[in-house]
């Protein structure tokens, strides 16, 4: 038992908040991410996370809570993508890229100004790679509130969102206007992504947003089942990652522990590959 759960895993306060925050973030990312995968907008999801890092670094520079910086910038960026990107997928791709490029340029500046004025050289790495183990209990209320907002948007728009994601032409023919649904969805995406980017790093937020839903959609075609499976896979990968990261404090080379982001990414990827194998068996019958 001790070989699997290193001593103190169940009594450690930091591990508890990591498990709770990780699960909340994984569920929100999986639910919003299922629509991201259906709408083929992984790039927008990734871009919002990285641009959110700009807001995070600006907030660090200004000395305020990074979470609000993340959300503020991500919402602005989502609006810019929506306005720039015409309905054609290729120009949307370009618009996303340009917003991302401009955002990263600003991030470079803020991080540079931050490091020269405050000598916090680790800021760029913290913002990009993050760690679940530095999330404090005080952040839990705001994280939970924002998660509820993002989930509420999805629940309220569920039918219209599903229809416009799966068959935009049919949706238009039925009189569902695409623009408001698309804008609301991007708002939910901005909130979900900046939540996860702030708590677990911009890198991981993409992994949790895209990986579990893509795996779930391989396993089932029914939307509700896919949502539940995606959330389950996301939470499982996060918890397994936290467990191994905790265990790894005794591993070589340094005794500092391996990054939790690494483990979660590896688990997410393995689940995706497994789902792909299984999905193929199902279709072959």
């Amino acid at each position: 038992m001790n070989a699997l759960f290193a001593p103190g895993f169940f009594t450690n306060g930091i591990v508890h908040s990591a498990l709770i925050v990780g699960a909340v973030v994984a569920v929100v990312a999986a639910v919003v991410g299922t629509f991201t995968v259906l709408r083929a907008q992984s790039f927008a999801g990734h871009a919002l996370g990285e641009v959110g890092a700009t807001g995070g670094s600006a907030a660090i520079l200004a000395g305020t809570n990074p979470l609000w910086g993340f959300i503020g910038i991500a919402v602005v960026a989502a609006a810019a993508i929506e306005l720039l990107g015409v309905r054609q997928p290729r120009s949307r791709d370009l618009a996303t890229g340009l917003v991302l490029g401009a955002g990263l340029g600003l991030a470079a500046l803020f991080l540079y100004l931050g490091t020269t004025s405050q000598s916090t050289t680790g800021a760029s790495i913290t913002v990009l790679f993050g760690s679940l183990f530095v999330v404090s209990m005080q952040m839990v209320p705001s994280i939970v509130t924002l998660s509820i907002v993002a989930l509420a948007i999805v629940v309220v728009c569920y039918r219209r969102l599903l229809l416009t994601s799966l068959n935009p032409d049919l949706a238009a023919a039925r009189g569902v206007s695409l623009r408001p649904v698309s804008a609301l969805y991007l708002l939910a995406l901005a909130i979900a992504v900046s939540l996860s980017a702030e708590t677990i790093g911009a890198v991981l937020s993409t992994a949790l947003l895209v990986g579990p839903p893509a795996a779930a959609l391989r396993l089932t075609k029914r939307p509700i089942a896919a949502l539940v499976a995606a959330a389950g896979i996301g939470v499982l990968a996060t918890w397994l990652g936290i467990l191994l990261a905790y265990d790894s404090y005794t591993w070589p080379p340094s005794g500092r522990g391996w990054p939790v982001s690494f483990f979660i990414v590896v688990f997410v990827f393995c689940f995706y590959l497994l789902a792909q194998l299984r999905g193929r068996k199902v279709t072959r019958g």
Binding site: G105, A108, T115, V203, F262
Partner: protein, 268 residues
């Protein structure tokens, strides 16, 4: 600004801009901005790994860029392309986080790899950059016709015997090559900005491939030249100038292109 140690910088940045302008045209044409972002960004992890082992960072960048390109192309065959790209990117970056936690690399060096460091290009570094640039441009010249055909009309390309899969993999390998040479100069995060912003503006200005490529190269050159001059003058990171100037040029290109089209077809 033009003292002897800066000459290398101007030469390296100009080479990088030409390659970025040419490869970028196809990135925009094929709608693969995500891949163009993912490969350099993920390859950054390779540089971290190379630093850990004490190897040349360009070597690490090259290995990771090529592995990433092949991995994304293999994953993309069975699933959605954007999902494959996202997963390829996060796996590479997750590995990078692991390397970073193992190494005692100083944060400023990592920052330089992410956001670019043009002020320290040595004469010895110029040769590999120039060599890779020639290979890249030659590959694009060889692939030019099938690449344009499969980008504009994939079905027509298949009929003519141009395999979409082969072209896609070949194109990703070109992006990987361009990555290995440009990342040390402009940084992993802004490399793709240099590829898509000038090319996007050029596409808005002209529909003819030759003209658009020329425009794209010219805009990329102006972007890096202005960027270096400003970066030298006020000491802010080059990445900031490349990212924001690129977006500004694209905005201008769209405006001019839209106005021209309105004049050309007053009825619409």
């Amino acid at each position: 600004m033009f003292s002897s140690f800066m000459v290398n910088t101007w030469v390296a940045a100009s080479i990088v801009a030409v390659v970025g302008g040419v490869v970028g045209f196809f990135v925009v044409l094929r709608g693969s901005a995500f891949v163009a972002h993912a490969i350099p960004h993920g390859a950054f992890s390779g540089a971290a790994g190379a630093a850990l082992l004490g190897l040349n960072t360009v070597f690490g960048l090259g290995v990771f860029a090529l592995a990433g390109a092949l991995g994304i192309s293999a994953l993309g065959r069975k699933g959605r392309h954007d999902v494959a790209t996202a997963l390829g990117l996060v796996v590479m970056l997750g590995t990078g986080a692991l390397f970073l936690s193992w190494s005692a690399e100083y944060a400023p060096q990592i920052y330089a790899l992410l956001f670019g460091e043009v002020l320290g290009v040595s004469r010895a570094e110029l040769w590999p950059i120039a060599g890779l640039a020639i290979v890249c441009l030659a590959a694009v010249a060889l692939l030019y016709r099938p690449l344009v055909l499969s980008s504009i009309a994939p079905e027509l390309g298949e009929v003519r015997g141009v395999s979409e899969r082969v072209i896609d993999t070949a194109f990703l390998l070109v992006v990987a090559l361009a990555t290995a040479m440009t990342v040390p100069v402009v940084g992993a995060l802004l490399m793709f900005s240099l590829m898509i912003a000038p090319a996007g503006a050029a596409r808005a200005l002209s529909d003819r491939p030759g003209v658009a490529i020329a425009c794209s190269i010219a805009l990329a050159l102006v972007t890096v030249w202005v960027g270096i001059a400003l970066s030298y003058a006020i000491n802010w990171p080059l990445g900031f100038f490349v990212g924001t100037l690129g977006a500004a040029f694209y905005g201008l290109g769209r405006l001019i292109g839209a106005r021209r089209r309105r004049i050309a077809s007053p009825v619409a």
